[in-house]
């Protein structure tokens, strides 16, 4: 069997100096290449903390996160940023596009921010990506002129433009109506099938969670259940 794309080993995350609260109390989790998994749990259970740690936006108090075969605990801030840029894609609840930029510029951002200089190929790739989410006619629009569903599609294009092996989605449909939620879900499903991208999706929505291949439930900072359908 191939190495897992993500391996979380005994991750503990504590906050506070005097009064220590444990957000994660020793989480073990593995995701294989191409999995499509939902991460569920009540609010305050530690889902977001886990997602931040997997997304290399936060570091565990103890334990290890091995991403694409690399142990990330020894990377410094700079290396972590570069590694994050090439290995991970992010989809946030509130799309989090940059309002001052056009759709295509937003999609170019991950590569542009990482490499420093915009190239012709970057733009071409970003435009192709927008096309594959069905927004080629909106490329030059300011993101504030797009609908909620369109904005989230741009965000998905941004997350996938560098073909990262793992995409982390934090309530990607949390802010959308049923139709748009459906569209976004299908889009992620399609990229999962076509590109083999692994998805880890934090969601409250049981309809979304039920349609994922695997459901991991976190309660009180521990993995409570983990089924594969």
């Amino acid at each position: 069997m191939a190495d897992p794309i993500l391996s979380v080993q005994q991750v503990i995350r504590e906050y506070g100096d005097r009064v220590r609260t444990r957000a994660l109390a020793g989480v073990d989790l593995m995701l294989d290449q191409g999995e499509f998994a939902a991460l569920i749990g009540p609010s305050g259970s530690g889902k977001s903390t886990l997602l931040n740690i997997v997304g290399l936006l936060d570091r565990p108090t103890s334990g290890r996160v091995i991403l694409a075969g690399l142990d990330t605990s020894n990377l410094d801030e700079r290396a972590l940023t570069a590694f994050r840029a090439r290995t991970l894609g992010f989809v946030f609840q509130f799309h989090h596009l940059l309002p001052a930029f056009t759709a295509v510029e937003n999609v170019m951002l991950p590569e542009w921010a990482d490499r420093g200089i915009a190239t012709r190929e970057m733009r071409v790739r970003a435009e192709a990506m927008l096309q594959s989410v069905g927004l080629s006619d909106r490329a030059q629009f300011k993101t504030t002129d797009l609908s909620g569903g369109q904005q989230q599609r741009v965000a998905i294009a941004r997350a996938l433009v560098r073909r990262p092996p793992l995409v982390l989605a934090d309530e990607p449909t949390g802010n959308l109506d049923t139709n748009s939620s459906e569209e976004i879900f299908e889009l992620m499903r399609r990229f999962n099938r076509e590109l083999g991208t692994t998805f880890l999706i934090v969601t409250h929505d049981p309809r979304i969670a039920d349609r994922c291949d695997r459901t991991i439930e976190i309660v009180d900072g521990l993995v409570k259940s983990d089924h594969v359908r």
């Binding site: 936006l57 840029a85 989090h96 309002p99 001052a100 921010a113 990482d114 200089i117």
Partner: protein, 406 residues
């Protein structure tokens, strides 16, 4: 385009109102600096020009005569001494052509002129007035003090028995060009001279006393055949005069006075003026700096979520830092261009509005490229430096927290 430039410029364009506001603040600040400097520089250089219009930059003359002992002490004889200051007579500089040639070779010296300068009395009818007789070699002297430009009547001609005199002296004697006047030197030698021109150099003492004649003429009037009592120098950089004077003094053993030593009061006035100018500039710079800093800090706070996203999707901290440094620098740079233009307009307007009835400016302003370049560098530097704190804050934002709470 580099990522950080693109984002910085886009942010500035996007927040047009804020950008315009801070640009106007920077422009006003820079224009105050430019205008104030232009005005004070103009005033100072016109003051210096007036002062130096009637005096050489450096004057070399013989030192005072030391008291000489009448009897020397020896092993056989001890003596009690009563020292009295020696009386000073007009003396020529020894080997003055050599001294002058040496002085001319000092770097920074642009002209040298030998003169015989002494006192005398001018007589015309009932008027008997004290005068300063200046015997000069016209060609050399005019390189030091440009008298022909200040001639108000007649021409500058000191050949033969012709003399050129100050305008106040001319009025006091009641003479005009073509009139004759009797001149006696302190050596008791008297001559009748013809006035060929009258000048106004702008210095009351000079215009009231100077009688300019030829070097040869003055030599004979003071019984100093072939001599020169002073050598006068012009230097390229007027504020180097002190240094050059000291150099000559230590090389030759003669006295060398710079205009700076002779006008210490004027210089201390100028330096007080310069200090107050600097004070005002520092305050303006501080105000501009605080303005830029506060706008950028607000912008960092407003954009903290966006910064978190940029960091999350792969922008390294140093690029985020650069985004805000660039904004500070660009605000300073553009502001200084606008401010320089505004400052120049103010200056010219001021000069026109305050000009005298003859159309000449009463307060000449002096705008030069150096000043504008300085203001530009200053404002850009201030923009960059004040952006450091907000930029540092942006670069150090924790992406996870910023995205969640921003």
């Amino acid at each position: 385009m580099p990522f950080q430039w693109f984002v910085a410029l886009r942010y500035m364009r996007d927040a047009r109102g804020q950008t315009a506001l801070i640009l106007s603040a920077v422009s006003v600040g820079v224009s105050v600096i430019v205008f104030l400097s232009a005005l004070i520089n103009g005033l100072q250089s016109s003051l210096i020009e007036t002062t130096l219009g009637s005096q050489p930059h450096v004057t070399i003359r013989v030192p005072r005569e030391e008291p000489r002992p009448l009897v020397e002490a020896s092993s056989q004889r001890s003596i009690a001494r009563l020292i009295q200051p020696a009386s000073q007579r007009l003396r020529s500089i020894d080997q003055w052509p050599v001294v002058m040639a040496d002085a001319e070779r000092i770097p920074g010296v642009t002209a040298a002129s030998p003169t015989v300068t002494g006192s005398g009395i001018a007589t015309r009818a009932d008027a008997r007035l004290p005068i300063v007789i200046r015997g000069v070699d016209p060609e050399r002297f005019l390189a030091i003090i440009n008298v022909p430009r200040k001639i108000v009547q007649g021409t500058f001609d000191v050949s033969g028995d012709s003399v050129v005199i100050g305008s106040t002296l001319a009025t006091d004697l009641g003479v005009e060009v073509g009139d004759k006047v009797r001149v006696a030197s302190t050596e008791g030698i008297e001559e009748v001279m013809k006035i060929s021109g009258v000048f106004t150099l702008g210095s009351a003492a000079v215009d009231k006393t100077w009688v300019i004649t030829s070097l040869r003429h003055a030599q004979s009037m003071f019984a100093l055949p072939g001599g020169a009592t002073t050598i006068e120098l012009k230097v390229a950089e007027v504020f180097d005069a002190d240094r050059i004077a000291n150099e000559i003094q230590s090389q030759t053993g003669l006295l060398a006075d710079s205009w700076m030593a002779l006008n210490a009061q004027l210089l201390s006035g100028l330096s007080a003026q310069s200090s107050s100018k600097i004070m005002i500039q520092v305050c303006v710079v501080l105000t501009v700096a605080l303005g830029i800093a506060s706008v950028l800090i607000v912008s960092v706070v407003q954009k903290s979520r966006e910064i978190g996203i940029l960091r999350a999707v792969g922008a390294p901290a140093n690029r985020v830092l650069a985004i805000f440094l660039i904004q500070g620098g660009v605000l300073g740079l553009i502001g200084s261009f606008l401010g320089s233009a505004l400052g120049v307009i103010f200056s010219l307007l001021f000069e026109t509005l305050t000009s005298g009835p003859n159309g000449l400016p009463r307060f000449p302003v002096q705008v030069d490229l150096e000043l504008l370049a300085g203001a530009t560098l200053l404002a850009t530097g201030v923009g960059l430096i004040t952006a450091v704190i907000p930029a540092g804050r942006a670069a150090n934002l924790d992406p996870a927290t910023a995205i969640r709470s921003g």
